[in-house]
Each structure stands twice: as C-alpha cells, then as structure tokens.
C-alpha cells in the first residue's frame, strides 16, 4: 500500500473541481494534473491513487493517461525537454536542435540521462511555429533557439538543480 495523498491544498482544489462539472469523471484530467504536480509524476501508484479517490476503475485511468502525451509519466527526468519536430520547426532546423541536445546530454530522443536530470523527446507542433525552432522545458517555452541557447539553457538547469530547485 502506498501512502500517497493529496495535500490539503490539492484536496481543496480537487473538491472545488468537483463543483465545476456535472459529472465526476470529467474531473479526471484536472485531478491527474494535481497528482502530477503533487507527486512529481504519474506512475502506477499515482494513477491508482487518483482512481481510488475518484471511485473509477484504475484501468480507465490507465487508458486515459496513456492516450495523452503531455502527462509526466514515471521515469521522466527533472528537466523534460520536448523538442517540437513538426513541419514549421523542421523547416527552421529543429532536427539540428534535437541532434545537438541529444549529443550534449549523451542520450537518444525519448531517453533520460542516467542521473535522472534530463529527459528529451520529440513532440508534435507546440503552437509556437513562428518562433521556430523551439522546445518546451517543463512548463516553459524556449523560442527562436540557437545551438548556443541550448547550451546555456542546459547549464542553467544544472545550476538550478545544484541549488535544489526542480521545475
């Protein structure tokens, strides 16, 4: 048994959400977002917790979580770099950007560094095509990137991590 539990604040938010929808299951996506924020990722115990909390079958939660690509699944690094690789970005060098990041971190696309600090993946259009190439780093967009920018951002992450900050 895991002892996962929403914080008081998280629980308040969850209960407020329940008042915003006529049907309980509609709260699933927002509830998963709370879980993501509070527990850091959505692994097996986290999904199970949300399922039990909401009284829906864990399989349903599992089907939902795996349908979407933007949830933080278990094993994602502290810093998740999601490189847009769709057409507009590709036309302006997203491939070089992705290659550079991978080389820099010593991992392939879709992998996480051994120390668990970075994950990097290719994602589809992030709706920032006019600032290509770009990536999303955790919640934030980094736009009009050059390879030098990438080096700097990665260094910043490492510094932030050394200071104990995460997201």
């Amino acid at each position: 048994m895991s002892d996962l539990k929403f914080s008081e604040k998280g629980m308040k938010k969850y209960e407020w959400l329940l008042t915003r929808y006529p049907d309980k299951q509609a709260v699933l996506l927002p509830a998963l977002r709370i879980a993501e924020a509070e527990f850091g990722e959505l692994g097996i115990p986290e999904m199970k917790y949300v399922a039990d909390l909401m009284g829906i079958s864990p399989a349903r939660v599992y089907g939902v979580v795996t349908f979407y690509t933007h949830f933080r699944r278990a094993g994602t690094g502290t810093f998740h770099i999601q490189v847009c690789s769709t057409l507009s970005c590709a036309l302006r060098g997203s491939q070089e950007l992705a290659d550079h990041i991978a080389k820099r971190l010593g991992i392939e696309m879709g992998e996480t560094t051994e120390d668990g600090m970075f994950s990097v993946s290719k994602v589809e259009c992030l709706g920032s095509c006019d600032t290509a190439p770009m990536f999303q780093l955790n919640d934030n967009y980094h736009e009009n990137l050059t390879l030098d920018d990438v080096d700097r951002i990665i260094e910043d992450c490492k510094k932030e991590s050394a200071r104990g900050g995460a997201r």
């Binding site: 097996i44 199970k48 079958s57 864990p58 939660v61 089907g63």
Partner: protein, 542 residues
C-alpha cells in the same frame, strides 16, 4: 430487439438492395437487414453492447449520404435506400479488410480462434488476394491479462468489445485500450488483472484470436470438435451452452444466445466446471457389495429389489436428474406399496447480479423446479424431511439414491440417514460418502451426458443433450439404465427414447401439457401453468 418484437412499433418503408422492404421503426440498418436475411459483416458491433462504430467493416451505400455509412449505427428511415453490394459498399469493405490485415500477423495456423474468427472468415470474402504491404508489421504486447486470459496484442483489432463488456456487462472495468493510433492495444492496469465472475465472455466476443482462454489454449482446433447444444448445470439460471468436445472429452463450453435466460453470456464458474467429468472418483462401472459386476447383473439386482422392497421403498432424488428421470422415479414409486420420495439439494449460495442484467442464481443446481413439477412442490421440502425421518428411524428397507452432483459435498445428516436403510442402490457420478457401504453402485451421468429437459429458476424448460456421439457410451444414460431396470422388473414394456418418455410425462403432468421435445424451441419455453412456491416458503433445503 424490442422494436422488432413489439407489434405496436410502426413500420418504415425503405429499400434494401433494390427491394422495397418494411421494418419496424428504430432499428439500425444492420439489424433490419439481418431480420431480412441480408447479412452485413461486423467486428465491433455486438447486440449486447453499446455501439462503438469503430471498425467500419459494416459500411454500406446510402442514398442519404455521399460517403458510405456504417450500418451498425445508422437507423432506417422512410425512403432510405441502402446498397450492401454496390461498388461503393464493396470497395469500402475491401478497404477496411485491407487495413485490418496489413499489420495482422500470419498466425491462423497457430491461433486458437482459427475456424471461428471473423477476420479469417471475412478475409476470404473481402480480403485482398495479395498483400500490398511491404513494410514491417507493428509489434504489440503478448501477455497475461489475468488468471484465465492472455492477450496476443498483434492480433487485436481494437474493436473494444472486450472493454465495453467489462464496463457495461460485468461492471468491473478491468480492461482498457492503452496508447493511441496503431499502438493501441487492450491491457489491464498493471496491478489489477481481469478477474471477474464473467471474464470468460470477453474471449468469446473477441472477434479475433487476441483474447485467449488459458483453459482452452492449444487444446483443439475448432473445426475438429463435436458441438452439442445443452444447458449449464452450475446453477438454476440454466445458461444455454454449446458443449464442444473432441474424442469424447469436453474441451470447452461456450454460451449460446438465449435472450430469456443468459443473453449471450455465461459465468466462469459454469464455464470452466467440466473437469469433474474426468475426476478420479468418477464411477465408471457397476459394483455390488463393493465388487465389480456386469451392468446387467446390477440392473437385475435392482429390479428384484423393486419387485420386493422388503418394506418401505425410499427414493432420494437430487436436482440434477432430468424431468424425464423424475417421471420414471414417480412410476417406480407408484408401483410400490409403500414408497417415500424425497429430495436433497446442495446448499444455496448468494445470487450475483451484474449491470448488464445478467444474474448468477444463488441456487446451485439446475433442475429443482423441473423435479418439483413432476414429483410435487414439496419434494425438496417436507417430503424430503419425511424421507429422512423415516430413514433415521430405520423404517426404510430399500433406498435408491440419485447422487449426480458434480461436487458432492456430503450433507452429514443425510449421509448418516441413508446408511440406516437396509439396502441401498446409488446412481452416482462420483464415489464418496454417498456410495460408501452401498449394496449397489451404478454409474450416473453428468448433466452434460444426460438427454432430457431441465427447468431453470424461472420455470423455463430447456433441453439438455449428451455431448457423446449417439451410441458411443450408452452406459452413462441414467434414463436408459432406469428403463432397463423397470423393464426387468416388469414395470415398463420396453425402453424408449428420452423424447418418448417426455411425451408420456407431458400427457399426465399438467405443467408439461402441450410440450414436446420436438416442438420445444431452441431457447426453451416456460412450463405452462406451473407456479413454483416462492423461494424460502417451503421448497428450501431441509
């Protein structure tokens, strides 16, 4: 369904393949066409589940749409014109078949579904002759989903029937589709296997060989098996089943549709409960005072006992005997000067109901009602009580016991009581407490080896049939043995078929009036005019 059967439903005029037709309003094109004997292929549609409309194989041409429409979800309407065999309809179907097959493994030779696989069947009719797919096929997981079920993901066509079953019928929701696009495949939550009392049905409704039952895996090729329509004896629901056997061994049970009884389903307890047929304790030969004897000897001995019971004749029946057998019991009793007939039945369990309006009966035997309809409503009640009291007081000289229970859980009081009879003959499925010390033991037939009728908890009379090939194993037909005994005893002129015995029964027993084996519908019929006592009033176990 209800639209089709309700005479009040207005009719709609529409055109099917150029023919003006009429169908009850509200039906889907698929259902209406089916009722008119035009079959349209389907994968994701299942009459017992909500409509998903995802496989697209059922597309037809409609005068109301530029694109082909799916017949499993579109409803018929006045003036609608549907073509199921036009170039557009055929091309749409061929397209779907081609897409279904491009990533499908070439597994038929090793797939347990082969022979009853919709994909295999349709691919003969609608599939491409030669694959145009030169790419690598996608790979999806093969794994255990639960104690009884595996998934071969590469075969899954993502029709979601199984997921809908667990959501809508069993209400247990263990299955889901994970991932999306062509990575989609059925799975369970990693720590919650599929394990519910109706789980086995998902294997039946999987249109392909993606869901595989561990119990049946690699056991037999479908087309080699002998298939017998019968009824499950696991409980008083009496689910209609097809018993599939090979070389005299049952390989699996699958449900048969019966909207009045089990719809399309059956429970796992019933489904997987046939191994007792091969149990070590199975009685296979007659014994007299513990020594094997020829059948004829045993029959003759029993006939003599009946001719001269030496006092009171007791007959203890169980709810596994057929109505026909019960009728012969009554004949025996009526010829004796002093006879007591009583019944014993296994303890009741609790009924289980599911959201899909399926119930497993709390009564764990198939034919209490049928036996009562023949032998009297109190046979398992006060009559049973009277028999036991007489036994306990040593007042019964000759006792015949029917011990056809698949799982004899000896009822101590009864076991003690029957031992007090001076002579005891047992028709036994299995050796054990009931047969111990019996003067005569005669092999009994299991419910899947009987030929006759059972009445379920609603009083619906249904046919049970032996899965053995005719003439194969006559030794196991209780009805024939009983008749042999009666003939020797001079109580019946000759042995008749089960159907003929039923005719006699129907002539004399009011609840059976007007019924016959040959006119009994495949889905059975209610016993006319038989109103069983409410459960718990009198008929309950002693």
């Amino acid at each position: 369904m209800s639209e089709a059967t309700n005479p009040e439903t207005p009719l709609v005029n529409w055109v099917l393949n150029g023919q003006p037709v009429q169908s009850p309003a509200g039906m889907t094109i698929f259902e209406a066409a089916k009722a008119l004997e035009t079959t349209i292929p389907n994968f994701c549609y299942h009459p017992g589940l909500t409509i998903a409309g995802n496989c697209r194989i059922c597309m037809v041409e409609s005068n109301r749409s530029k694109k082909p429409v799916i017949s499993c979800s579109e409803r018929i309407a006045e003036g609608l014109e549907i073509q199921t065999e036009s170039p557009m309809a055929i091309e749409a179907r061929n397209a779907v078949m081609e897409f279904q097959l491009i990533n499908h493994p070439l597994d038929c030779p090793v797939c347990d579904k082969a022979g009853e696989c919709d994909l295999q069947d349709y691919s003969y009719d609608h599939g491409p002759d030669r694959s145009r797919f030169d790419e690598e096929k996608n790979i999806r997981h093969t794994k255990e989903l639960g104690p009884t079920i595996d998934i071969w993901g590469n075969r899954c066509i993502v029709c979601t029937r199984c997921v809908r079953f667990c959501d809508e019928i069993s209400g247990t929701g263990e299955l889901c589709v994970v991932e999306r696009g062509d990575r989609s495949v059925v799975d369970v939550f990693p720590t919650v296997p599929i394990d519910n009392p109706l789980a086995g049905n998902v294997v039946d409704i999987c249109p392909v060989g993606a869901l595989i039952s561990n119990d049946f895996k690699f056991e037999a090729r479908i087309w080699n098996m002998r298939k017998t329509d019968s009824v499950c004896a696991g409980c008083a629901r009496g689910c209609n089943v097809e018993v599939q056997s090979l070389d005299g061994f049952v390989k699996r049970l699958v449900p048969r549709e019966n909207m009045e009884v089990n719809k399309w389903w059956m429970c796992d307890e019933g489904r997987y409960d046939y191994r007792y047929l091969l149990a070590d304790e199975r009685v296979t030969a007659c014994t007299k005072d513990g020594e094997p004897v020829e059948d004829h000897d045993a029959h003759e001995t029993l006939a003599h006992w009946l001719q001269d019971p030496g006092g009171t004749l007791g007959i203890l029946v169980d709810p596994y005997i057929t109505c026909e057998e019960a009728f012969l019991v009554e004949q025996i009793a009526s010829h004796a000067n002093n006879a007591l007939v009583g019944g014993w039945k296994p303890a009741d369990g609790t009924a289980q109901s599911f959201p899909g309006q399926f119930t497993i009966s709390g009564e764990k035997a198939p034919n209490r009602l049928g036996v009562e309809a023949v032998l009297g409503k109190l046979v398992f009640g006060s009559q049973g009580h009277a028999l036991r009291t007489a036994l306990e007081k040593g007042q019964v000289s000759t006792l015949i016991v029917f011990a056809g229970f698949p799982h004899p859980d000896p009822d101590d009081a009864w076991v003690q009581a029957i031992r007090k009879a001076k002579r005891r003959a047992v028709f036994a499925l299995q050796a054990g407490a009931w047969t111990e010390g019996a003067g005569l033991v005669i092999p009994g037939a299991s419910p899947f080896e009987k030929d006759g009728t059972y009445a379920n908890e609603d009083g619906r009379l249904q046919r049970v049939r032996s899965f053995h090939a005719p003439g194969d194993v006559e030794w196991s037909h209780d009805l024939q043995r009983l008749q042999a005994v009666l003939r020797i005893a001079g109580l019946r002129p000759r042995s008749l078929s089960s159907s003929a015995v039923f005719r006699e029964l129907a002539d004399v027993k009011k609840p059976f009036h007007g019924l016959s084996h040959s006119t009994l519908p495949a889905t059975g019929a209610p016993l006319p005019g038989f109103i069983p006592l409410p459960v718990g009033v009198e008929g309950g176990s002693v």
